[in-house]
């Protein structure tokens, strides 16, 4: 898996996994701002600091009042986080897997997203919801979905997805500091991937895409774990004489439309890649954006690479067939440049 990030020049970096980068971001945020809180299932130290250990050591350091292990009650978790947020704090709520959003969606969609608007700006919800998402570990249909479309469709929420440890840290620190509710979707399989991460405070601005690989023939627009596969595909395609640019969105809401349009207006071809199922996916939104702005300049139809419209299967062979990979991306890129 590719999970390296070009380190910012002049910054001291340290090699760490995504989970370590997330823990680093939480630790730095809690140390810098006493209003930052943590809550979720198993997040305190006696329970292991979360099933992925992303909060290991924090309850010992900051106390059980600021780091609260909760019952398995997703509505109560997000509701308590919202209440604490409008009460003046900056809670980080962990929903173990994004598939569990269904349980808490009323709090997320009807309250976190809307309280600022419904109150005419009187109550802010500076809340971060961290959640693991994505297939590839044989967790079956209820612990594997990428459900970013659910939350991107709700005005009032911001949505970010990191593709590497450095961005995982930088986006999370920005999310916590943000005055609006931000969903940070964390690709589960990236948790154990390593990369260089800036030491100390590191903020990746929400709403800004990154060019993961410059290229001139075709633009691959993607995010999250698919960035690694897109880079892998681009490497293979380079040997065939196809120079693909890979745009890592990093932030889905707000989306860096300028970066997408600038790239596609140069390459005149776009392939959009996401792990989520195709129907109603973000790929359709991005394709529409490109068509609305660049219709006359395109040399090929905008293509999408996405999972089939099925639940995520359990058997390894079926799960592999379900998942987007480098070969599927390469095939789509070849079709786009043909």
């Amino acid at each position: 898996m590719t999970a390296t990030c070009p380190a910012e020049t002049g910054r001291e970096t340290r090699r760490m996994t995504t989970v370590q980068a997330i823990l680093d971001a939480l630790d730095l945020s809690m140390a810098a701002d006493p209003s930052v809180l943590l809550l979720g299932e198993d997040v305190s130290d006696p329970a292991g600091g979360g099933i992925f250990h992303a909060s290991a050591g924090l309850s010992a350091r900051y106390g059980e009042n600021r780091v609260r292990a909760t019952p398995i009650s997703e509505q109560a978790i997000v509701g308590a986080a919202i209440g604490a947020a409008i009460g003046g704090f900056r809670p980080v709520a962990e929903i173990m897997f994004m598939d569990f959003f269904g349980i808490a969606l009323d709090q997320i969609a009807n309250h976190a997203a809307k309280l600022r608007y419904m109150s005419g700006g009187q109550t802010a919800v500076p809340l971060t919801i961290r959640t693991a998402a994505g297939a590839g570990m044989q967790f079956g249909a209820q612990h594997s979905e990428m459900l970013e479309s659910w939350v991107c469709h709700i005005p009032g929420l911001k949505v970010v997805v990191a593709a590497n440890p450095a961005d995982a840290k930088g986006l999370l620190m920005s999310a916590i500091a943000d005055d609006d509710p931000v969903i940070t979707i964390e690709p589960t399989l990236n948790y154990w991937a390593s990369g260089e991460v800036p030491v100390g405070e590191h903020f990746v601005p929400i709403g800004r895409a990154a060019t993961a690989r410059p290229g001139s023939d075709v633009t691959v627009v993607t995010y999250g774990r698919m960035v690694g596969f897109a880079l892998q595909a681009a490497g293979e395609l380079a040997a065939e004489g196809i120079d693909a640019e890979v745009v890592d969105l990093r932030s889905l809401v707000p989306m860096d439309e300028e970066a997408i349009l600038a790239s596609v207006s140069r390459t005149r071809r776009a392939v959009i890649v996401h792990e989520a199922v195709r129907r109603g996916g973000l790929g359709a939104e991005i394709a529409s954006l490109v068509n609305e702005h660049l219709f006359g300049q395109l040399d090929a139809p905008v293509l999408r690479v996405a999972a089939p419209d099925t639940p995520v299967p359990y058997a390894a062979e079926l799960e592999r067939a379900y998942l987007v990979d480098a070969a599927k991306i390469a095939a789509a890129v070849r079709a786009a440049v043909r």
């Binding site: 809180l37 009042n65 600021r66 609260r68 909760t70 019952p71 009650s73 509505q75 109560a76 997000v78 509701g79 308590a80 986080a81 919202i82 209440g83 604490a84 947020a85 409008i86 009460g87 003046g88 704090f89 809670p91 009323d106 709090q107 009807n110 309250h111 309280l115 600022r116 608007y117 419904m118 109150s119 005419g120 700006g121 009187q122 109550t123 802010a124 005005p155 009032g156 911001k158 943000d178 005055d179 609006d180 709403g207 809401v253 707000p254 989306m255 439309e257």
Partner: protein, 332 residues
């Protein structure tokens, strides 16, 4: 009425304050229904008439810095917590001068300046949020209390159970106040609820629960006082079930066919606002002149606020796009 509370009767100032709130709610409701019936304004309107004593008892008890969360039928709780009438009425009518600039409406009235933190239109969803507000006061080290109001129907939704459990596990300073008005939307309590009283559910979460006459402000005040004292002392949450009746159905325009005529008539005849007035006069707590003076003040305030609301402009079209996100930079 209130015989059991004679020993610990609230002070005269509290009795008077509760009369003021009861009167404000009852007369505001009458004004709104008149306005809507005459077609002079439009509003989604959930009449609180019949439930005013609950908000009066709690309103007279709470401090301004205590938090209140309520539900779409919340006008009584808004007035009880001291949301100013002018901004409140303007919000109901969707005016720029409303508490929420006309962008929330009756189901989403918010006024943090008076501690009215959330009004939600989703049954039961205020309870988990109340826990978070209570957690925030624990973190600040204050003795603020959070009161969350909801109907009997809310006790059948998952959020109620998740929230009561968490509040008890975390010993949160929350008072859960169920306004049992006998109906969830158009369905009678008995057809939707597995226990004869909502308060019985408190035992399942290891917290005290009590059922009281919600049409008696003195009874509400007494029960709420004990619950608030527990919460302030760090002894955890309480569930209060206040028995009442929804005199004007679910929503304005409701034909109320599902409510037996005799049952509703009996409730009308026992109008809690009238009952409290008669009790105050009969017991000699407030004489006729004092009662009339309160009523005159309330009427004047309502008239002023209604004139203010009706004379206020709608929000400017640009307001559609503000307050979606903080600051100026917003996702396109």
């Amino acid at each position: 009425m209130s015989d059991t509370w004679e020993a610990g009767l609230p002070e005269p100032a509290v009795l008077r304050r509760m009369f003021e709130i009861v009167t404000a709610i009852s007369r505001t409701d009458a004004e709104f229904r008149k306005l809507l019936l005459a077609g002079q304004a439009r509003s989604t309107y959930y009449s609180p008439k019949g439930q005013e004593c609950i908000s009066a008892g709690i309103g007279a008890l709470l401090r301004r810095d205590d938090y209140v969360v309520t539900t779409y039928r919340g006008l009584h709780d808004h007035l009880g917590k001291g949301v100013p009438m002018r901004e409140l009425f303007a919000e109901f009518l969707g005016r720029a001068t409303g508490t929420c600039k006309g962008k929330g409406g009756p189901m989403h009235v918010t006024y943090p300046a008076a501690g009215l933190m959330v009004t939600t239109g989703i049954v039961g969803s205020g309870l988990p949020i109340a826990n978070g507000l209570a957690w925030s006061s624990l973190l600040r080290g204050t003795d603020q209390v959070t009161v969350v109001n909801f109907g009997d129907g809310a006790s059948n939704i998952g959020a109620f159970h998740e929230a009561l459990n968490m509040a008890a596990v975390w010993d949160l300073p929350v008072v859960f106040v169920c306004h049992n008005n006998r109906y969830g939307e158009h369905t009678r309590y008995e057809l939707a609820t597995s226990v004869p009283q909502v308060a019985l559910r408190a035992a399942a979460y290891g917290m005290p629960g009590c059922t009281i006459d919600g049409n008696d402000p003195v009874a509400v005040y007494g029960a709420a006082k004990a619950a608030v004292a527990r919460a302030r002392a760090g002894e955890g949450p309480t569930l209060i079930e206040a028995m009442t009746y929804r005199l004007w159905g679910h929503i304005f325009g409701d034909d109320m066919r599902y409510m037996p005529t005799a049952e509703r008539q009996a409730a009308m005849d026992a109008d809690p606002a009238v009952r409290y007035r008669n009790w105050l006069a009969g017991q000699g707590h407030l004489d006729e002149a004092a009662l009339a003076a309160v009523e005159a003040d309330v009427d004047a305030a309502i008239e002023d606020a209604m004139r203010f609301a009706l004379g206020s402009p709608p929000p400017s079209p640009a307001e559609l796009f503000t307050d979606v996100y903080a600051g100026e930079a917003r996702p396109a």
